[in-house]
Assembly symmetry: C2
Homo-oligomer: 155 residues x 2
């Protein structure tokens, strides 16, 4: 049984909820999938194992996970205003989004703490969380655009 499923089971138990086959399926997919699926994408994957699974169940499960802080919800500016769900358990990490191919690369930095402190000190607010999004060209797209513009390879 994977991490998310057991985490969730525990919380369900403590709040009189029930671990259903639908939830178990969705949780196990979320746990193993190293991506940021939309609700639809998650549904499509899950339907390979449970063809009757319904989209509203997917949403209800995701919203519950969100409330339990077991997934975070992101709106990468990819044109759409469709939510993507990030099951990486509460490790604070950030995202680079390629403006050409929309690929997402996760990254980490310890400089955000400094920014938080900087802002707290200058404003009097108290900062809990923070997230950074970077936009640009991923290594592949960058390579391609250089080749296209100059005919040259890059080192």
């Amino acid at each position: 049984m994977n991490e998310l499923v057991s985490q969730a089971s525990e919380r369900l138990r403590s709040q009189g909820g029930r671990m259903t086959s639908q939830r178990r399926l969705l949780l196990s997919i979320l746990d193993s999938l190293g991506e940021h699926p939309t609700a639809e994408e998650l549904l499509l994957i899950a339907r390979k194992q449970d063809p009757d699974l319904n989209l509203s169940t997917v949403y209800r499960t995701l919203r519950w996970l969100e409330a339990e802080n077991l997934v975070s919800t992101r709106l990468f500016a990819e044109g759409r205003r469709q939510e993507r769900f990030d099951a990486a358990l509460p490790s604070e990490h950030h995202h680079f989004i390629c403006t050409r191919c929309k690929n997402v690369i996760e990254f980490d930095t310890d400089l955000l703490d400094e920014i938080k402190t900087q802002f707290q000190d200058s404003s009097g607010a108290s900062v809990d969380t923070g997230s950074i999004e970077l936009y640009g060209l991923c290594p592949d797209c960058r390579q391609r655009s250089i080749v296209q513009e100059t005919g040259m390879e890059v080192g």
Copy 2:
């Protein structure tokens, strides 16, 4: 005539577009308003001067401004997935959002450049833009929550 209006006029001229009364009104509001209105909020303000103005005109104007890089569009995670429009001309700045009262405070930092460089160097991507969102309690809400929990004032 304010900055946004003249900027926009210029661009419209160069692309065979027309400066209409609706656009002039919306632009002047956006230019003076120091906030991040939604399309609806902007409509409500504008209707004080032009009661017949339509929401689709507001959206069309905002989308054009977006394409011209004269406004940026943000989706602060305030529960809603409604877009907010930021007319602050292309100065790169960031946002703190109070999780209690949803107030937004803008801030600046030079540490993001370091983060960009750090990521570029380690990944091989090229980063164009980036944005930071911080979440927590604004000074007022923080004050209130301390008073409420401890009965004490804070220095």
